[in-house]
């Protein structure tokens, strides 16, 4: 187990098609106290900052409502807004491409890079590019991709995987970062002071920013009204990538569009506060097509569907696409806090990942994720665009179960056999009463003298593995009620007293 555990911790699999189910993937993390400590520490810091700044905002709830309404309006008219974005962006000198799936997006981006004769590219952190597994693809095609966000550098140089969508390396502590940087950048005597580590990253990238003529980014918002693209960041690596190169390629999910420039007044107030607990992140950039004399003179947007349109068609699930990727849901989630992000087997972890990943995979993979939740509702409460995540989780659980119980392999699964039997019994009163009688006799066999069941056989064992079950009373409610009407009140109490 421990060798397997090490493998999973060191090389977590974030491809939903290959990742083990959540309970299996979570185990090694739960057995790694250092990892859990790193995750808990980072989350505590974010949560404290966020709570203070959300508290300070008197119109927080009104902003949430407005943001949800803007996104709903967008999604209802998504085709029209995307066409409008395309028209305006093109008019401003940009080029818009459409990709139905990940493979198409990768191919379009590689073709653009080939046109530029690029063998290197600098990247602004984009989870969408991780979703389509762009870096390994480019690497195989002979294009070296340099991540420029500090957390992404840590992961890229350390051969790690993101465990969070805003601070992807939050599971790595300073000592580990020091080790990675010292080894890969060849710096001896590097201290583990975050200041020194940050400076090392700055030096490492400075010349790349000035030399590499092609950049790839994601997008936080696309503005239909103007054809503009917005990127929200902290370090300035984003500004470097979208200002210095000759060519800029932006990969954006189709749900990233907002109708009007002024809609940003709502989104920008929510995003930084909700994501990192700042009133506003240090840098937010908006650019529109190509501006002569300022920034890249060759600009491409790749609009990515990759399963999103299939989410759009379902009434309950559509709200998934409101997401602005702030990560507040994972920061508040009691499950994520224990398991960290890698257990989710996807670049989108936490509650949003638990609903987004299986849907993007159209329930062909990641079926365990909707069950990776206690349904406590904390994610819904913090969500700045009011996505009712528990509601969607329950809906997805039903869909996964429906899908599963019709597969041949699950026909003899004890749970489904049990449920089919229960279905027959529960619909016939006489059978139900008989089953109660038989069940009480059966229960006697496993009930200990103290009146408790400590272990059940077969599938029932899963329940009693972690808890005891109270033994059945001698009478059913029906029997007790009948007795009571005959004037034998109190029998049940006396008997159950006796049983104790």
């Amino acid at each position: 187990m421990s060798a397997a555990a090490d493998r999973v911790v060191n090389h977590p699999i974030l491809d939903p098609a290959l990742a083990p189910p959540f309970p299996v993937a979570a185990l090694p993390v739960l057995r790694n106290p250092q990892l859990r400590k790193n995750v808990a520490h980072a989350i505590d810091v974010i949560q404290a900052k966020r709570a203070r700044l959300v508290e300070e905002k008197t119109d927080w709830q009104e902003l949430r409502t407005a943001a949800a309404a803007i996104k709903d309006e967008t999604l209802q008219n998504l085709g029209a807004y995307l066409e409008q974005f395309e028209e305006r962006c093109t008019a401003a000198g940009g080029h818009v491409h459409w990709a139905a799936d990940a493979a198409e997006a990768r191919r379009i981006i590689l073709e653009l890079l080939r046109e530029e004769k690029a063998d290197e590219v600098i990247k602004i952190k984009t989870m969408t590019s991780a979703e389509i597994q762009l870096n390994p693809f480019l690497e195989a095609a002979g294009v070296r991709a340099y991540e420029t966000d500090l957390a992404e550098i840590i992961l890229q140089l350390g051969n790690g995987e993101p465990s969070h969508i805003v601070v992807p390396a939050l599971h790595v502590n300073r000592a580990q970062v020091r080790e990675i940087f010292a080894r890969t950048m060849g710096i001896e005597n590097l201290s583990d002071d975050p200041k020194a580590l940050t400076a090392a990253a700055r030096n490492y990238l400075r010349q790349k920013f000035l030399d590499v003529p092609t950049a790839i980014s994601g997008a936080n918002f696309l503005v239909a009204e103007t054809g503009g693209v917005t990127i929200v960041e902290s370090e300035g690596n984003g500004r470097m990538c979208l200002t210095l190169p000759r060519t800029m390629i932006t990969l954006a999910g189709i749900e990233k569009v907002v109708p009007r420039f002024a809609d940003l007044e709502v989104m920008l107030q929510l995003l930084a506060r909700s994501a990192t607990g700042e009133r506003m992140n240090p840098y937010t950039s908006l650019w529109t097509g190509v501006v002569p004399g300022d920034g890249p003179q060759n600009f491409h947007v790749v609009l990515l569907d990759n399963g999103r349109s299939s989410i759009l068609g379902r009434k309950t699930e559509r709200q998934t696409l409101r997401c602005i990727r702030c990560a507040a849901c994972m920061n508040t989630c009691p499950v994520y806090r224990q398991t960290g992000g890698h257990a989710y087997g996807s670049v989108y972890p936490g509650p949003i990942g638990a609903i987004l990943t299986p849907q993007l995979e159209q329930l062909r993979h990641a079926q365990s994720l909707p069950f990776a939740s206690s349904l406590c509702g904390a994610c819904y409460e913090v969500c700045p665009v009011k996505i009712n995540i528990p509601e969607i989780l329950i809906d997805l659980r039903a869909r996964v179960t429906d899908q599963e119980r019709h597969t041949l392999g699950k026909f003899f699964d004890p749970m489904y056999v049990g449920l089919r039997v229960a279905n027959v019994i529960f619909s016939r009163a006489w059978l139900f009463h008989f089953a109660q009688w038989a069940g009480r006799i059966g229960a006697k066999l496993v009930t200990r003298r103290d009146g408790w069941i400590h272990s059940l056989p077969s599938v029932g064992g899963k329940w009693t593995q972690t808890r005891d079950l109270r033994g059945l009373p001698k009478q059913t409610f029906h029997e007790w009620f009948k007795d009571r009407e005959r004037g034998n009140e109190g029998t049940r109490e006396q008997e159950s007293e006796g049983a104790r």
């Binding site: 305006r88 500090l150 957390a151 690596n237 470097m240 920034g295």
Partner: protein
């Protein structure tokens, strides 16, 4: 090429299948937005959030300064006639010698001003190369707007605000903000952008008048990627200084 066109149709068809035909309520908006006149499309979105701040002018300035300082920006205030001297003082205190500035900064900021004389080297950006800008140690610019609520400075990269690159590569950014440019809330900034439309000739093409380039700056560049410890200064300017002009 046809594969590309196919993807466009494929994605849009999938979206239209999913959203269905326009419902009665949104039919009108739909047809408008399909016609591509986005500015008029909007929207019965609830906007009960705070649009207009309620602070007095002086409280607003105070809030702006306080929030800037919270994010490690340095702020000084000056009278309009003392601006050139204030700039000179800031440059001197920065310990730096080589600066750039946008070509459109007001002449009174530097013509005959002390900092022209005191041996600072300041180059106006008439198409400087990236290498030349990288050599500069600091940059002096104006801005479009300041937002008190979040301590944000907004650049539209006009003639006095400069190309994006000049406020990016130099390590030290001095930004001049006039009190009249400071608004309390972010929506007030967006209103200012819209007001510009109404004054402009082509009012019916509102989108055309909206800014093509915007950079919202809230404090110097920073990261918290290592153990959530906030470190000032990564790739952007490590120092942000603001002169607030009492006009």
């Amino acid at each position: 090429m046809s594969a590309v066109a196919d993807s466009r149709k494929k994605v849009l068809d999938a979206i239209r299948r999913a959203t269905g035909p326009a419902t009665a309520g949104s039919a009108e908006r739909n047809s408008v937005s399909t016609a591509g006149k986005g500015a008029e499309v909007h929207l019965d979105v609830a906007s009960d959030y705070v649009r207009q701040g309620k602070m007095t002018a002086s409280a607003r300035q105070e809030r702006f300064v306080e929030r800037l300082r919270e994010y490690d920006a340095e702020v000084v205030e000056c009278e309009p006639e003392g601006l050139a001297a204030a700039i000179a003082a800031q440059l001197a205190a920065s310990g730096r010698r080589r600066f750039v500035a946008p070509p459109g900064i007001p002449a009174e900021w530097y013509v005959d001003a002390a900092w022209k004389i005191e041996g600072f080297e300041c180059t106006l950006d008439h198409g400087l190369t990236t290498e030349e800008i990288e050599q500069a140690e600091g940059v002096v610019t104006a801005c479009f707007c300041g937002v008190a609520d979040s301590g944000t400075i907004v650049l539209h990269h006009g003639p006095a605000e400069g190309r994006r690159v000049i406020t990016l590569l130099p390590d030290w950014h001095l930004c001049v903000v006039h009190r009249s440019q400071v608004v309390e809330t972010l929506p007030e900034y967006f209103d200012r952008c819209a007001n510009r439309d109404q004054r402009s000739e082509n009012r019916d093409q509102g989108a055309e008048a909206l800014p093509k380039l915007v950079t919202w700056i809230s404090g110097p560049s920073a990261t918290a990627d290592i153990e959530m410890t906030r470190i000032k200064g990564v790739h952007g300017p490590r120092f942000l200084n603001v002169i607030l002009v009492r006009d």
